[in-house]
Subunit: 360 residues, 2 copies
Amino acid sequence: MQIDSALFQENERTAPTADERQFVDVGPFTCEAGGQLANVTVAYETWGTLNADKSNAILACHALTGDAHAIGWWDRLIGPGKPIDTDLYFVIGSNCLGGCQGTTGPTSLHPDGNPYRTRFPMVTVGDMVEVQAKLLDHLGIDKLHAVAGGSMGGMQALEWTVRFPDRVSKAFITASCAAHSAMQIGFNETARQAIMQDPAWNQGFYTDENYPEGGLSVSRMIGHLSFLSDAAFTHKFGRRLQNKSEFDYSFGVEFEVESYLRYQGQKFTKRFDANSLLYVTRAIDYYDCQSLANSRSEYLFVSFTSDWLYPTYQSATMNRLAEEAGRKCRHEIIDLPYGHDAFLLDGEFQGKFVAEFLKA
Amino acid sequence: MQIDSALFQENERTAPTADERQFVDVGPFTCEAGGQLANVTVAYETWGTLNADKSNAILACHALTGDAHAIGWWDRLIGPGKPIDTDLYFVIGSNCLGGCQGTTGPTSLHPDGNPYRTRFPMVTVGDMVEVQAKLLDHLGIDKLHAVAGGSMGGMQALEWTVRFPDRVSKAFITASCAAHSAMQIGFNETARQAIMQDPAWNQGFYTDENYPEGGLSVSRMIGHLSFLSDAAFTHKFGRRLQNKSEFDYSFGVEFEVESYLRYQGQKFTKRFDANSLLYVTRAIDYYDCQSLANSRSEYLFVSFTSDWLYPTYQSATMNRLAEEAGRKCRHEIIDLPYGHDAFLLDGEFQGKFVAEFLKA
């Protein structure tokens, strides 16, 4: 397991710099858990050209805090000549229901004119997929050539094949699972408590000026602890000090890794809504796919040896469900040291597998 | 790797129910980083009988949030007829410098009559060991038969063999390391930020009535995430719901693992001081033992396969340092699924090794 430093640049996971999002209203929506939304707006982007028979569409589903700009967060996989080749395919990215990057979520306006905040109904991975299906209706696409996603995006891709078996031919699911383990739920719950224990959270009814900035930054630090592997942390930071040769013996930043985590936490508070994080983590904790019996899709599952947040055994479980359902499937295990972030950082190895998978 | 449910009871890590602590003033103290303390009080307990030539003393060093009551937190190892046999040995437990269970720390009174809080000087693992040496002076013990500890306690035990090579014959060091990795520092920094981002922390100058309870509870949840393995979490909790058969679809407790983590967090705020957690995590992050060249001790290192917080390679590193120093040493790797908590939960396997090690 070698570390390629050139590859190992930081993934910024940021919103698009040039905003090319489009927006479509898909109307009222009833959530799986019973909640009602008077209207759902979907933020999306597309790349490439839809062919005449509309058979070359690929939906790319983002992870927890991602956005519609799939060509940004998955720049190693999506683009002209890349594994998910926008010269061949019409690629669609959309922000998930409950998110905060353009699609209706807790920061959106309630019909009373104020933001929903925690009046927003609880959403599920199934709800996210239902809203994506309405976007496809709007785009006039009956059937996807493929749905692709990693982490939470992989759970959406899996749900697509169960919920709309006639609307998806292939599913590429990387660094994901059919149901969260207790430890995954535990990490999410700790991140949620970091927010909810911040007095500024105020049961979700904070303002844009006074929001749970401290708790949100800690929740993101917890996330980043789980995104890297021990080997990746050591490679990136070791025990190097931050701009000094000796300890200050203070509670300020001493080690580089502290600076990195604080920076990631603080940056996150400028781009992501605290309530949204509660809703999307809840959605993936609830998700529990126990059978692919009614699927008609072909599957490519990928996992990474150093990913301890979504361990390889979880992809093996999904592959077994696909086998039990009689579906064509394969599970590729990639030995890279980047931890969970490998699904964003690795274009080469999973790229080769997904390029073949899409063409076959 | 089988899970023995009977063994796998929760370790409460609590303070002694019947307080049998003794206290001794060891005088003024100058910390390694330069800070001054007008007086240090040490809280300690002993079990068994010191023999005539004072050659049967064993010092048991506690982990991050432990206390002097070693027979409590290490009840699988210490006691009459147990691996660290109080019928044979005189066992000493003491609370570490900077802690909050009786030994001088940030809650202690400054000479001005108010608690130190963050006016307390930064302490190191070396300082903790120096204070323990003063306790041994008070007890009239020149040389320890052994020093024993896990996690932070193991770092103290290692430091004993370097700092006082003539005062310790054997060192039993379990689930520990010679220096924290970037990931271990990262977990500690995230726990510290959970406290420091709580407005009630107030730069450390909180009161006993208004303290950073929320942040401290989150810091402990982060700790508990790292104490167990994925397999242990799954065995203990799986996806079981907490006293319900269906989801509430709320941000209250849904899953048992959430209840467990919240409970551990809240319980911790009743027994541990937030500033103390900052100081002791800092101390172990600073610790960096690069050589055992001047040691005269014999070593037993133990690690557990499922401990991802203090992985086996770190014990292998310590064992290599001991070999390079020409010391008699062994490293036993125990295949148990309990994660880092194994060093507290396992009496049987490490118990057999340590019993032999102490007698040889």
